[in-house]
């Protein structure tokens, strides 16, 4: 028999083997801030269950290792991921001493890289299946539903990150909605201002270099420095402009965070608008004018639709970037998931850091998938520019 290895599969199998047999699966701590003790898969789970998980991991890794049918690889990755997700909850319950509310069980390094390895396998399969944009969004929804189900079912309730959540359920959702508002609101503002600015830069060549350079410089200012820079002017505005304070404009808090995110968002939106409009085939513009479209009709009927995928790419960059950056807003009292991250760092409570970080990453990931799908949907129709 001719045995052939899958290139990516070799890497995945190596990672999985290391994670399953060498790295710790879970961490046990007597309370939330003491250093933890590592537990392997067999230690963290009842013997039979632990053995079952090892078998699943080994079989899935072998399927990844060799050249196997795509469907088999799909099944292997999904089964492995589901088993890991379910059993990490079981480990939480199993490792928690009965009646002990201080002990903290958290997924450890080995668990995370197992998740990483099989997500890689799944992503590879999905890419090779060349799913349509809708199907990809569908997969995302399915995955989100599965995670939601696990959360609601309570099978993860004994994990440390959820214990942190239960202590802060109210503020979690409040900060979460602040986070999303901050990220989406600044994106929205950037689109409202950046699109016309990009169009202007496209039409007026003299403006272009100047505007893009200024935005470029803003982009290079470190975020914390930018927050700092904004405190003084916004503080001044709050004191001297009537009604500004009533609108929530202050030197610290949401206002400077919003303004900073907005400023960071401008460059990708403006630059992509300019690039997108510049990429509109000359022949199409020419035809638009030749058929008797006014400048406005040409802008909305021809230039804009043709530049749209490129502009959307800019918006995708901004959204993902903003979801991440909004974390920093907590530093100046702007709220968001960053609140948990920085509190956690302050208390050296890793679980609390994760409570802020995990949803942020998940949001950014979901935003990227959804916008990629939208971009692809708008592009396929108008693919090749004809000669």
């Amino acid at each position: 028999m001719n045995i052939r290895f899958d290139k990516l599969g070799v890497v995945i199998a190596a990672i999985a083997a290391y994670a399953a047999f060498v790295a710790p699966f879970a961490t046990f701590r007597a309370n939330r801030i003491v250093p933890g003790q590592a537990r392997s898969i067999l230690e963290a789970l009842p013997t039979a269950t632990g053995a079952l998980l090892l078998v699943i991991i080994v079989v899935a890794a072998l399927i990844a290792l060799f050249k196997t049918p795509l469907v088999l690889r799909l099944v292997a990755s999904v089964v492995a991921l589901v088993a890991l997700a379910l059993l990490v909850g079981v480990a939480g319950t199993f490792l928690t001493p009965a009646g002990n509310t201080f002990a903290r069980i958290s997924p450890a390094f080995g668990f995370w890289i197992l998740i990483f390895a099989f997500t890689l396998l799944l992503a590879d399969v999905l890419t090779r299946l060349e799913l349509s944009p809708w199907a990809r969004v569908g997969v995302l929804v399915l995955a989100a539903a599965a995670v939601g189900l696990l959360l609601v079912s309570g099978s993860w309730n004994d994990l440390s990150i959820l214990k942190e959540y239960f202590n802060r359920a109210d503020s979690f959702w409040a900060e979460g909605s602040k986070h999303v508002t901050l990220a989406l609101g600044s994106l929205f503002a950037a689109v409202v201002i950046g699109l016309p600015l990009g169009i202007l830069c496209h039409r007026v060549e003299k403006l272009r270099a100047g505007v893009l350079n200024v935005l470029n410089i803003i982009q290079t200012i470190p975020s914390i420095a930018l927050f700092g820079l904004l405190i003084a002017p916004l503080g001044w505005v709050a004191i001297h402009v009537p009604g500004a304070a009533a609108l929530g404009i202050r030197g610290i808090g949401t206002a400077p965070a919003f303004v900073a995110l907005f400023l960071y968002s401008l460059l990708p939106v403006v630059a992509n608008t300019v690039v997108g409009l510049a990429g509109v085939p000359r022949a199409a513009n020419d035809a638009a004018r030749g058929m008797g479209m006014t400048d406005r009709q040409r802008l909305f009927g021809v230039e804009f639709p043709l530049a749209f995928p490129v502009i959307l790419t800019g918006i995708r960059i901004v959204l993902v970037q903003n979801i991440g950056l909004a974390t920093i807003a907590a530093l100046i009292g702007g709220g968001g998931f960053g609140v948990f991250v920085f509190q956690g760092v302050g208390q050296t409570a890793m679980d609390l850091v994760l409570l802020g970080a995990v949803p942020t990453v998940a949001l950014a990931f979901a935003a990227a998938i959804i916008l990629d799908a939208v971009i692809e949907m708008t592009t396929t129709k108008r693919r090749a520019e004809t000669a």
Partner: protein
Amino acid sequence: MIEIEGITKRYDTTTVVDDVSMVIEPRTIAVIVGTSGSGKTTLLRMINRLVEPTAGIIKLDGADNRSVPGYELRRSIGYAIQGHGLFPHRTVAQNIATVPVLLGWDKDRINARVDELMTLYQLDPQAYGPRYPHELSGGQQQRVGVARALAAEPNVLLMDEPFGALDPIIRTKAQEDLLAIQKRFGTTIILVTHDMEEAVHMGDKIAVMDAGKLVQYARPAEPAISSRPWSAPAKGRSGCCRSDGCVTRWRTAPPRAKPSAATPASATHWPSYCGRAGRRYR
């Protein structure tokens, strides 16, 4: 009627259209031939004001073409763009409907018109209407470009090498169709081509351009045109058309200088055109 009076276009210091005057009678076809870069497209685009002339006036039925806004003017003039210029993001049907939509025709009328034109150009409306331009062959794209120019039944039609990508059979058919349309609606047409057969066949008059100048404007039957002076070789260049005797004929029947402008005879040996036009599509 289209009256072109002393039209000049200069880009920086280069003059691409040089003091051209000509009159295109209503309900006739004027064909413009000339070497690549001789200013044919530029001349055409000054008629619908896609290019603003440096000097000169163009009148349509006696009215200066600057008396209405450019976009309004262009809606009333059909324009088949060199290399088709279809909108890549719009379907074939939407492309053809462009001007009628701009003019605010009602939906049924637009649909009927699109179907009619597609059928005329042998593109099944059901099969091709919903397609995007990149899903068509070059020849099909070109036919759609012509159909789009005809869509709003314009009185004046500017066509820039509209049949270049068509095979001889469809090309002949397209020419006949255009002639039929022109007869039926009395359209005034200016057509740019590199194909001399086409020029002679379609043109009531043929204009020859060289280096921005109009060097000849006459009926195909007139001696100067029928002796095909534009296929004579440039002075000092090896002639590719000597064999068919045009050089001799040119000597015996020298081309008439442009009626108005005093073009020196020495400047009127429409050079380098031989290979391309005279022979290409025989």
